[in-house]
Assembly symmetry: C2
Homo-oligomer: 269 residues x 2
Amino acid sequence: MKYYNAYDKLQDSISRSGSMLCVGLDSDISKLPVGFEKSINGLLEFNKSIIKATSQVAAAYKINFAFYEQYGSDGFDLLKNTFEIIPENIFTIADAKRGDIGNTSLAYARSVFDFFEADSVTINPYMGFDSIEPFLEYKNKFVFLLALTSNKGSYDFQRLDVAGRPLYQHIVEKTLKNYSNKNIGFVVGATHPDELAALRRVAEDSCFLIPGVGAQGADVDAVTTANNKKLALINVSRAIIYPETQNSYKTFEDLVQDAAVSYWEKMRL
Amino acid sequence: MKYYNAYDKLQDSISRSGSMLCVGLDSDISKLPVGFEKSINGLLEFNKSIIKATSQVAAAYKINFAFYEQYGSDGFDLLKNTFEIIPENIFTIADAKRGDIGNTSLAYARSVFDFFEADSVTINPYMGFDSIEPFLEYKNKFVFLLALTSNKGSYDFQRLDVAGRPLYQHIVEKTLKNYSNKNIGFVVGATHPDELAALRRVAEDSCFLIPGVGAQGADVDAVTTANNKKLALINVSRAIIYPETQNSYKTFEDLVQDAAVSYWEKMRL
């Protein structure tokens, strides 16, 4: 089934999977488990295995462009192939953190939406609304603006006080004031559950993309409580795609599936 | 000559060319002039012509990744080929506006520095210092952090008041306080000459990458006055690579060279 609008696909994908689980494909040759060729082809086989093991429970796949771009043009081919092997009813996120002046953002939008055919993209809002608008012009697509990210560096600038509120809150409020567009969501790190709960009161109906669970150490229960059952995707990358394989007679795909199912259960609707 | 450090290459490249002129390769199939095939190969031939026509006067080339990424993997091949045809003593800027959490920024750094072998990259600082550090780990390379960009959207967030100073100034000050690294510069739009002059007082010795002259309408003389003869690259893209060709018997390369020389004269050291 082809979806006209990514927002509808997002909602259906979450309903069908029954949870907010987003699986992040941060695929890296240096971390490939035994049994996969240490090559671009090996990475594609790895991605196929991950998708096969998780497609019953994943509401979305987040493809982290950096991990592919490090291999240059072959990596860009792999990115394209990876988007192609994702089942077409599962929501996809081009995690590319793009954003530039208008005519340049338009070229980035063409890349992620026309070439890769991603359903959504992550955008860095620092350059302002005219850097975001070329992405919004794709009215059947979805954009996630960075608000409060999951890393330690989120304390450097994102929380600076602007007229009594942190900068990231200002970005969310001004965006919601400027656009009634339901196809705009926000990235809010799972590592900040209190701030996530507060931001939910500002942006009740917006979809939040919540990274930071798993290798980054955020607590899933704190996140789901803070999110208060609102529309969200909670991303797990490394803790699912690189499961602990020692002392186990299970196959790699079974271990990935076990990890994904355990997160799925904690993130059920 | 192979340079060990991009900072030295930057200074030599500016000295040799005798000006601060940076030529932006925002190459786009839809804008190719008559005589070039409307294809990826045509774009490479176009870039060769631009470089041939400008290499005597250009202190640097800025390659805008978005324009290449819009063509997918073929575009990434073209990016690589474009870096390869730039004379090795001319400073190169991967204008990619990257930045993400640590392990992801490391993968982006590998892409721009190891795969493309760019001398420098533009970074969006919104995610904080741990998103910038993987790029700084390449101690022989150079990074430009976005401060005040040339577009209208720079009024949306970059100028927000933080403790009496605009956010962009806070970013510059905090960066200079954290790092004594001379391999960090800042992007400051030519469209804001007063703010550029003020920022020069905060970051006297930092290299500024100054976009916005030409199609974006900034006044070159106002910019060079504001910059006060400090280390800088002033970028011109469209006004050089897409010169007015009507009513002229000159070749495309001569027209490009004429445009580049006219900017070179205004940006002489």
